[in-house]
């Protein structure tokens, strides 16, 4: 793969990225940015949309925690974008969710320039919140050594962390640090738009084959991690009894749904009148079984799976937020993988690849019409 190599003094990739963004602002290839930024109390991160040089300088494009899944932040631009060349720096899994939402007409990509980066994973929010300062320290180390000891379980299983020959996610530009010389990072174009931008910036394109080995290695490690963890996970998910046991602690708070970038329905079916029953309905059920647990959770979980597993990008936002520490992200990701395999579909792989279900639906309609 080819790309441009840029400086990052003292391996401060964030600083390097910000200089690149600001040079783009000067050259007119970008006119504003969506970046991750520390909140005033310095104990968390939020997404900020800005064109202000000062704000860009105080942002942290590669941040230690995923608070709001980036695609959820972009959804708030549903009714339109304020400017035309907004550079968005987000993780690969966030990009993939952005692509999925664009297919579901929830995000318009026209005015966005999607910039992904080599993602070593993020820290569990709860761990970070306990001691944000320490979290910063831990994460800065991870950015250099890619040690996965302290990252979220779901990240340990994620193999879509960098671009390689076999395309696994779409963006316009991709920032890469793996296999690049010390104090440097590189930018690879990952779309037509990306190629144009690099051309416009007149930067020298170099061969980046030094990345191939390290990228391959990390992907292999992650895949092995996943294989191993699935050996334990799968028996916990197969069959209704196992599944009820898996979700037994679930309090049906639906936090997992609220933080999921893919679940975009304003009014979720599983919170609607349609799933509301009266005491009499429950009583009927209770009298045939002896008791009726108020755990509509399984219906909710399985229902949510059928609605969104095809687009699940296994970003782990749900698992990170679950107050009961249920491995909900890993469960969805497993189901998602299977459904996606079935349809030979990979969410977020490319702008063009249509959602299988929409194709399916259209074909179904055609049959009816004929």
């Amino acid at each position: 793969m080819d790309g441009v190599i840029l400086k990052a003094q003292n391996n401060d990739f964030n600083k390097g990225i910000k200089s690149f963004l600001l040079s783009g602002l000067k050259n007119g290839v970008f006119d504003s940015f969506i970046l991750s930024m520390q909140v005033p109390a310095k104990d968390s991160y939020a997404w900020i949309l800005t064109y202000d040089e000062g704000l860009v300088k105080s942002s942290t494009p590669i941040s230690p925690i995923m608070t709001v899944q980036g695609a959820r932040a972009l959804k708030s631009l549903r009714t339109g974008t304020p400017t035309q060349k907004i550079a968005v720096v987000m993780r690969p899994c966030e990009m993939r969710a952005v692509i999925e939402l664009s297919k579901l007409n929830q995000i318009n990509l026209n005015d966005l320039i999607l910039i992904s980066y080599d993602c070593p994973g993020t820290l569990p929010i709860k761990n970070y919140l306990e001691d944000p300062e320490k979290g910063e320290e831990v994460f800065n180390k991870i950015l250099l050594d890619w040690d996965d000891k302290n990252i979220r379980e779901t990240c340990k299983l994620c193999d879509k962390v960098s671009v390689q020959e076999e395309k696994t996610f779409q963006s316009d530009l991709h920032i890469t640090t793996l296999g690049i010389e010390q104090n440097n990072f590189a930018i690879i174009s990952n779309s037509e738009k990306g190629i144009e931008i690099l051309n416009e910036l007149k930067l020298e394109i170099k061969n980046l084959s030094s990345r191939d080995e390290p990228v391959k290695k990390i992907i292999e490690t992650r895949r092995k991690n996943r294989e191993n963890s699935r050996k334990e996970l799968i028996p916990q998910l197969i069959g209704l009894d196992a599944l009820s046991e898996f979700f037994s602690k679930c309090i049906n708070c639906k936090v997992c749904r609220s933080v999921c970038p893919i679940c975009y329905c304003r009014q979720c079916y599983f919170s609607s009148e349609k799933v509301k029953y009266s005491m009499e309905d429950y009583l009927l059920q209770a009298s045939t079984r002896g008791n009726m647990k108020f755990l509509p959770s399984l219906l909710f979980q399985v229902g949510r799976m059928t609605h969104m597993s095809l687009s699940c990008v296994n970003c782990g936002a749900c698992e990170d937020a679950c107050p009961m520490d249920i491995k909900v992200g890993q469960a969805f990701s497993y189901v998602g993988d299977n459904v996606q395999k079935l349809f030979d579909y990979l969410p977020g792989r490319s702008f063009e690849e249509p959602l299988p279900l929409s194709v399916y639906r259209e074909e179904e309609f055609k049959e009816i019409e004929n």
């Binding site: 900020i48 708030s76 609220s258 509301k276 008791n291 009726m292 107050p323 009961m324």
Partner: protein, 372 residues
């Protein structure tokens, strides 16, 4: 004279036996109470006698606000045959607030509640030494101490008496392992209970009218002190805009706090509706005036709106804190602010079914003034 029934059994066994006898005599059709299955705890509607025997009515946990559940269950239509429900005081208070908003009905519900020692944060249910903790909890309660390891909200909750319950059980009683008293607190309860359930005695205490044992008075005043101390420390009710922005700076706008809140009953929250969607022109002008806009926008607006909608009714149950993914003490903020608003209006949520919520009264008056 108020009545009570003295039962010479441990409180849990005694209550379950009572529920079973009510089921057997067909005075009630089912029991709504907590069940525990290893590290799962949930409300359940039970008709089977054996399953009542396995239930955990006094387990110090609140997986969902029971008032919210009962409201959902009685909202479509009220119950046609009697059901007994064992819930905490704040759940009952929430239920009553919901009924005032036409979101449910007490018809045919026999409400059993306790003088409440509090509940633990819900995720403690997976702790390995849980049984030990629960034992300690009941030990403390029995000795009229506030148990340790409660939800923050329970530590400052002084509304521990379920004044509107039909039957009240005092869990802060040192004899609780051998005998306990059921206070008959309504005419409805009298219809369900009789000699067959135990000896009916006159009671010195009238929970609904503020006469109750000294040890409970002491606990209440201790908790009031706790509340004042918390308020002095955090000044939640004097935060102002900047303070709120700081406190909710971490908020990721997931709206889960509202989702589990019994008082937030709207099926589609106003703040999730299309009207509240960030419009392009608003975004543009915000961006021009501020140079930077947070996405998603309006996280603070949501909190302010929710405060505005529910502060008079917040029962301080702490459900919201339990689910917040970024550990904001939402329940403490809402309960503290709620409490001061409630004091202002001299309104106690859930205290009196007949008393209208001041917000609705206020709105009406405003309107009549307007008409004049």
């Amino acid at each position: 004279m108020n009545k009570k029934i003295k039962i010479n059994k441990s409180v849990e066994t005694g209550l379950k036996e009572l529920l079973i006898s009510l089921l057997e005599s067909r005075k009630i059709k089912a029991v709504f109470t907590l069940e525990r299955n290893k590290d799962a705890v949930y409300y359940s509607l039970i008709t089977d006698l054996e399953k009542v025997d396995q239930a955990s009515p006094f387990l110090p946990f609140m997986p969902a606000n029971g008032g919210k559940l009962l409201s959902k269950l009685t909202d479509i239509k009220s119950i046609s045959e009697p059901i007994a429900a064992v819930i905490h005081p704040c759940e009952l208070a929430a239920f009553i607030e919901l009924i005032k908003k036409q979101q449910g009905s007490l018809d045919n519900l026999l409400i059993i509640s306790s003088v409440c020692p509090g509940v633990m944060p819900i995720n403690n249910i997976s702790e390995t030494n849980l049984d030990e903790k629960i034992k300690k909890y009941f030990e403390s309660a029995k000795n009229s101490n506030i148990p340790t390891g409660l939800r923050e909200n329970c530590e400052i909750c002084s509304r521990i008496i379920p004044t509107n319950a039909d039957i009240i059980i005092n869990l802060m009683d040192k004899d609780i392992d051998n005998s306990f008293e059921l206070y008959i607190n309504s005419e409805k309860a009298e219809k369900f209970l009789g000699d067959e359930n135990g000896e009916i005695l006159d009671s010195d205490f009238d929970f609904a009218n503020n006469t109750f044992p000294q040890n409970i008075k002491d606990i209440i005043s201790q908790k009031e002190k706790n509340r004042i101390a918390v308020n002095e420390k955090y000044k939640f009710d004097q935060l102002g805009m900047d303070g709120l922005i700081d406190l909710f700076g971490k908020c990721i706008g997931c709206h889960s706090c509202g989702g589990v809140c019994p008082i937030c009953y709207c099926e589609l929250c106003d703040f999730d509706s299309a009207e509240h969607e960030y419009k392009k022109n608003v975004l543009k002008s915000d961006l021009n005036s501020r140079a930077g806009v947070r996405l998603p926008p309006n996280t603070i607006l949501y909190q302010l709106g929710r405060l505005n909608h529910i502060s008079t009714s917040c029962v301080g149950c702490g459900m919201c804190t339990d689910v917040c993914p970024v550990d904001i003490p939402v329940g403490m903020i809402f309960s503290s602010i709620g409490n001061s608003v409630q004091e202002l209006f001299k309104y106690i949520p859930g205290e009196n079914l007949e008393e209208a919520n001041p917000i609705t009264v206020y709105k009406k008056e405003e309107l009549t003034n307007f008409e004049d």
